[in-house]
Symmetry: C2
Subunit: 391 residues, 2 copies
């Protein structure tokens, strides 16, 4: 006999940087009976997941599928498959995840050149272009589309030209943008991208959707050295997800049920409508936060709809406020990461969690918790939010 | 709108090499509401998972936890953390998974020496000892405890002395033994082991339990080069699963609910009772198969209770029989892998699927399907199985 009781999680409201609230039908799909990883029914699930991922990524790439790990495994998948020892990588760093990309690339034996921007700002395309021309050629150029550590959205439109000047494949982190913000890999000429399931797809964490262009696949297939990770070797994995169905590893069957349902919900809603919903609710949340007198460190043109960075006012205790939101309201918002630790909160409105109900609850609960800290809101956040929602 | 219908898997009976049938309470745990990966409730789940994994592995190792990937990610975790470029690895190969270990070790830049045994047989300790003495010293010695490709159980008792002669850490693959067969890492002096969730734990695939001895941890901490995989770097991951709770990657929350419940069920049953159940049902299955006149290629002393290899009789079509079992009975058994492809089947009786009902169904359905192929059973398999079950 064990002393442990069965898992019985409380119903939280997840408005941090992810995981986000999971839709009931996705949880039901997750808990459906497991079948074999070569069962005809599961092979159909795999095919449909691939087909549904393509429009969400905005691509026709044949090699589009979920890797059997979390978002960080997706990041590692891109670098281990596309870099070889001695290759050069140009990497934009303006937050935790750009820094992580540089670290992963170094562990592949690559020579890494970073182009930095202050945290809370987007990368400057001119800086990237200068480095591309002065320090190239590069094998890959990588940057974060949606910096989960800062809530900054990077405009991808100038990047293909810069990558061309660098002679590089263009790689992007789309962890917090996928299914919440348009990505348009093909339009922007992105060669490889990765994401996670637990942000705007509102699926539990555990899979990392990736997409590789034909050019990236050619780079992969003409490698001189084997991919250093056997587990993430796309040469092998493509034979399971593709036509041959050759056993590589045992796919996480139930997690693939869940992403299937999450993708279905996204496409049923319609991607344009889904993006508009994320934008509308983010605008209402920001209006409410600003009405209270809180500062948003990211400038308006670079804000990421699914995740809003808000400065913690002077004299307010970070952990006490987040603790009160959790204990009194069951509401999770995110602390700051890296340079923003203790200085800012991250409030997510992602996927199924991007609702008027959630943003209203968050503004109300945050206002009350800040007042308990002695902070006086300037104006009524709910009125400001309601005005935006009313359009 | 998408054209795809919600996932609605049929209720299979999973008697292949895994995944095995998942207990209803494990599926319910899997589908419970997602909470944040730093939620106090989830941190408690993590602690309890670690505490429950230790007795199942037969260890007191502090560094015992599930990795966020499938069993093969567990394999890679051991090698990337313990090997550095130029290290020597002694690896026993008597099936697919020993061969995979050698490949993974090579991709870590190690010099690999293999000791081979014919598929369907255990490794010969004398062969290993000779290589340990003649070709050592080695950094690691690795072998498969339960070869999922052949159904062979390797006796671990002589291995510590051989690893000592090699000057090596002792590594074992316990994918198909964990929670179905005694492992006793500490008793056998194993330094690092990995497993998967979808075999005798009867949890869906998606996590890889691992355990590292203090000596293995020391090797990890005194590395000269960074671990080549950032995602699997135990130096970093230990800071999340251990006291500091430092964010590394977003843990697969719901999969950890599921392994928590699967471990709870295993400990509630009692490990000795659980091992005895696997042994009893395996004996009954084998008696039934042999009564029909089918051959078991693995000799009696080396058979793995959770997975039985059975030769496909002359003139019988592999795929047609497996197809009939699936279409007529919803019953999945495994085809052969590697050298046994088309020559043998693999029948699993793992975890929640190791029941008299399942072995009876399998013997009945297989007998009927073989007769449809023109094969004449020698004797009644059910009578032979019932005799074993009656004790």
């Amino acid at each position: 006999m064990t002393a442990y009781r069965p898992v019985d999680p409380p119903a939280r409201v997840l408005m941090g940087p992810g995981p986000s609230d999971v839709a009931p039908s996705v949880l039901r799909a997750l808990g459906a009976p497991t079948v074999g990883h070569l069962d005809p029914m599961f092979l159909q699930v795999m095919d449909e997941v691939r087909a549904m991922l393509r429009p969400v990524f905005g691509t026709a790439n044949e090699m589009t599928m979920p890797m059997s790990g979390t978002g960080s495994a997706g990041m590692e998948t891109l670098f281990v498959n596309l870099l070889e020892p001695g290759d050069k990588a140009l990497i934009g760093v303006h937050g935790v995840f750009g820094g992580r990309m540089a670290e992963v690339a170094r562990r592949c034996g690559a020579e890494v050149v970073t182009v930095d921007a202050p945290w809370g700002q987007a990368l400057d395309p001119d800086d990237l272009m200068k480095a591309a021309k002065a320090k190239g050629p590069f094998k890959v150029m990588a940057l974060v589309h949606a910096e989960t550590s800062t809530g900054v959205l990077q405009d991808l439109s100038p990047m293909r030209a810069i990558a061309d000047a660098a002679g590089a494949l263009l790689l992007t982190d789309c962890v917090t943008s996928l299914a919440g913000v348009p990505i348009d890999l093909d339009k922007h000429g992105v060669d490889a991208a990765y994401s996670g399931t637990q942000k705007c797809l509102s699926c539990p964490p555990g899979l990392a959707p990736i997409s590789f262009s034909d050019r990236a696949v050619t780079t992969l297939k003409t490698r001189k050295h084997p991919v250093q990770s056997w587990y993430l070797d796309l040469n092998l994995i493509a034979n399971y997800w593709g036509g041959a169905r050759a056993y590589h590893h045992t796919a996480p069957v139930n997690m693939n049920y869940a992403i299937h349902e999450a993708l279905r919900l996204a496409l049923d809603e319609g991607l344009e409508a889904r993006f508009a919903r994320h934008a509308r609710h983010a605008a209402a949340l920001r209006a409410g936060l600003q009405a209270m007198g809180l500062e948003l460190p990211v400038k308006a043109s670079e804000r990421l709809d699914p995740l809003t960075l808000v400065a913690i006012p002077e004299g307010v205790d970070d952990k006490r406020v987040r603790g009160r939101l959790m204990s009194d309201y069951g509401l999770e918002i995110g602390g700051g990461l890296g340079q923003f630790a203790g200085r800012a909160w991250r409030i997510g409105l992602m996927g199924a969690a991007s609702t008027p109900r959630n943003l209203t609850l968050c503004l109300s609960a945050l206002s009350a918790s800040l007042q308990a800290e002695g902070f006086k809101p300037k104006a009524d956040p709910l009125a400001a939010a309601a005005e935006v929602l009313a359009g």
